[in-house]
């Protein structure tokens, strides 16, 4: 198991000291995280990495999972899609069932001093507040910038009952009568996907797929999904390749529930068949080490998304010191300040132009990558995420604009 001190060489001893110092202010408070699944998905992943670290800091931290059946998760899937702005229809029966499951769960829990509810599935537990009191925070991990109105209207009445709502990017904030906090997600620098790798491991992965590390490699790691614009990436690569030699790697998971997914994948494959320098890699979910190696061995990493939740693949690539060219959408502008820690683009032409420049100007590209790594070190590692959670919990007890601890 990782120890909080293992992060000290990366973020500095002073940061670790500050985490312990903040945690001391929360002594005696039971902190209870509640979500809807113990495994699978980003929320469970970050909680499973964070919980042992919170306990090592001396916090009385707990993690509970609500119980639901298939019918319940069918309804919450609609909520999830609706928050993403997808048109969905929910019936009164759906809503009644959702509330019933939440109420049943609420009867089973012994609530902590701080109840930290993640995502919409357990949101209606807040009804219990009237009888148990406590401090309640709702954490939205979803891009809710353009939510479906019906879904939002239903959820809003519950969100408004919390003390605070937490969003991952400024664009996700809403008109709410409660305090709204910005807490970005994070990557774990010691996980398989991000830890340092020996050069021979990187070489082995490139050799396995027949990619030549002696020539420039441009890589996008993403699902094959319209919103990640893999076809736009191929177009940009072709435009850039007119003047600079390079290979393109598109690596990621298979088709998603996006109805256009299979069609896009077919087109990507067709394009790859025409060009021996395009490598399309369908990677299973357990490919963290390979993804790590592909990012580390690339000359440039792309994330040409048309829409993005937060886009942690950008943080992953920047952490590896790679120059990144990415679409200026969702949480990406938080991770990249244009021409300081990477490149933000808005079009295929712009992306092509920057690919050419960065391949031709390796020193400038290296400077962007080095700046990007520092930016991630300061702002998007798990230790910053823990710091933000500690401050969030403290803000429930201290309301002043400036709080002094002596």
């Amino acid at each position: 198991m990782l120890r909080i001190e293992d992060y000290s060489p990366i973020v500095g001893q002073a940061m670790i000291y500050e985490l312990f110092r903040l945690a001391r202010q929360l002594e005696g408070k039971k902190i209870q995280n509640i979500n809807s699944t113990a495994v699978g998905g980003g929320v469970a992943e970050i909680l499973s990495r964070m919980m042992p670290l919170l306990k090592q800091l001396g916090l009385d931290a707990h993690w509970d999972v609500i119980k639901g059946n298939e019918k319940f998760y069918a309804v919450t899937k609609k909520f999830h899609n609706g928050l993403h702005g997808v048109p969905v229809e929910v019936s009164q029966e759906d809503l009644d069932w959702f509330l019933e499951v939440n109420r049943e769960n609420a009867e089973q829990f012994e609530f902590g001093d701080i109840v930290f509810v993640h995502d919409p599935q357990p949101i209606a537990l807040i009804e219990k507040r009237a009888s148990v009191g406590r401090n309640w925070v709702w954490r939205c991990h979803i891009d809710s910038s353009q939510p479906n109105k019906t879904i939002w209207k239903f959820l809003e009445r519950y969100i408004a009952m919390y003390d605070a709502a937490v969003f991952s990017a400024p664009a996700f904030e809403a008109r709410l009568p409660i305090r709204q906090i910005l807490i970005s997600p994070s990557i774990d620098p010691l996980s398989d996907k991000n830890k340092d790798l020996p050069e021979e491991v990187i070489n082995a992965v490139f050799e396995k797929y027949g990619i030549d590390r002696n020539r420039p490699v441009i890589t996008q790691i993403s699902r094959f999904d319209f919103l990640k614009d893999p076809l736009g990436v191929i177009k940009a690569y072709k435009m850039a390749k007119g003047s600079v030699d390079m290979q393109l790697v598109l690596a990621g998971g298979g088709a998603t529930d996006d109805p256009e997914g299979p069609m896009i994948m077919e087109q990507v494959k067709a394009e790859a068949d025409k060009d021996k320098d395009i490598f399309v890699l369908f990677l299973p979910p357990s490919s963290d080490l390979e993804i790590n190696a592909l990012q580390r061995g690339s000359t440039i990493v792309l994330q040409k998304s048309l829409r993005e939740g937060f886009g942690l693949t950008v943080s992953e690539a920047l952490w590896k010191g790679k120059p990144v060219i990415a679409g200026a959408v969702g949480g990406i502008p938080l991770q990249i300040r244009h021409q300081y820690s990477g490149i933000l683009t808005h079009s295929i032409e712009g992306t092509a132009q920057w690919i050419k420049r960065l391949v031709s100007e390796p020193e400038f590209a290296a400077r962007l990558g080095a700046n990007g790594r520092e930016h991630i070190r300061n702002n998007f590692l798990i230790t910053r995420h823990i710091k933000d959670y500690l401050l969030l919990f403290l803000s429930l007890f201290y309301s002043d604009d400036i709080v002094h601890f002596s």
Partner: protein, 211 residues
């Protein structure tokens, strides 16, 4: 009391629920947000991007340049020299004057693309003591290289404008221990022109000279 304890400051970012998609809405926001938001948007990037030089412009300028694609407004906002302001009210007035003049002269029809609106934010600051306490300039110089950048930032930037102490904490302490010349030299340093590590080195050189 001759001791100096280093403190560190940790920020929780608060979303204010106010956004702008053109310069007129930016002006409206500037008029209504709390001082903490003015401080946030003119300082947060200094800590986030403490390692790069030249330092990127403040958030207002950056948004005008990149999202509004308005080079003139961006350049004028970038030129606001924060070190010249002794309080956040004056800094706010100066930023507003630039935007107001720009709106009057050029209108505000230019809008950012959807999704690139300016979101006003602020921070709730938590100040915690560090274990580092010094009593002499020699001790100060020896420990300066070990304090966190958060701590350095707090004493150099927050103290003067965010906490309204009028000057940085180091100068106040140097004066208190009978080193007024050192206090003045540090006060005259423009911290906005350095990376935080560069600032740390510059401070160390000055302190050693008087130690």
């Amino acid at each position: 009391m001759n001791e100096f304890r280093f403190y560190s400051k940790l920020d929780l970012t608060v979303l204010l629920g106010r956004r702008a998609k053109n310069s007129r809405q930016l002006l409206e926001g500037l008029r209504h947000v709390p001082d903490a938001s003015i401080y946030f948007h003119t300082h947060k990037f200094l800590l986030q991007y403490h390692y790069v030089t030249p330092v990127p412009p403040n958030d207002f300028a950056q948004w005008a340049l990149l999202s509004l694609n308005d080079d003139l407004l961006g350049e004028r906002l970038s030129s606001i020299d924060v070190v010249q302001y002794g309080n956040l009210g004056d800094l706010r007035a100066s930023i507003m004057k630039v935007v107001e003049e720009h709106v009057e002269a050029n209108g505000s029809r230019r809008e950012c693309p959807p999704g690139e609106e300016f979101h006003f934010m602020a921070s709730q600051a938590f100040i915690v003591p560090t274990p580092i306490v010094v009593h002499t300039l020699q001790e100060f110089a020896a420990h300066l290289e070990h304090v966190s950048l958060n701590s350095l930032y707090h004493h150099m930037f927050d103290a003067r404008l965010r906490l309204g102490r009028g000057e940085n904490d180091f100068s106040a302490w140097f004066r208190g221990i009978g080193k007024p010349e050192l206090a003045e030299e540090v006060k005259k340093l423009d911290p906005y022109l350095h990376t935080l590590e560069g600032l740390r080195k510059r401070l160390a050189v000055l302190v050693r000279r008087y130690a």
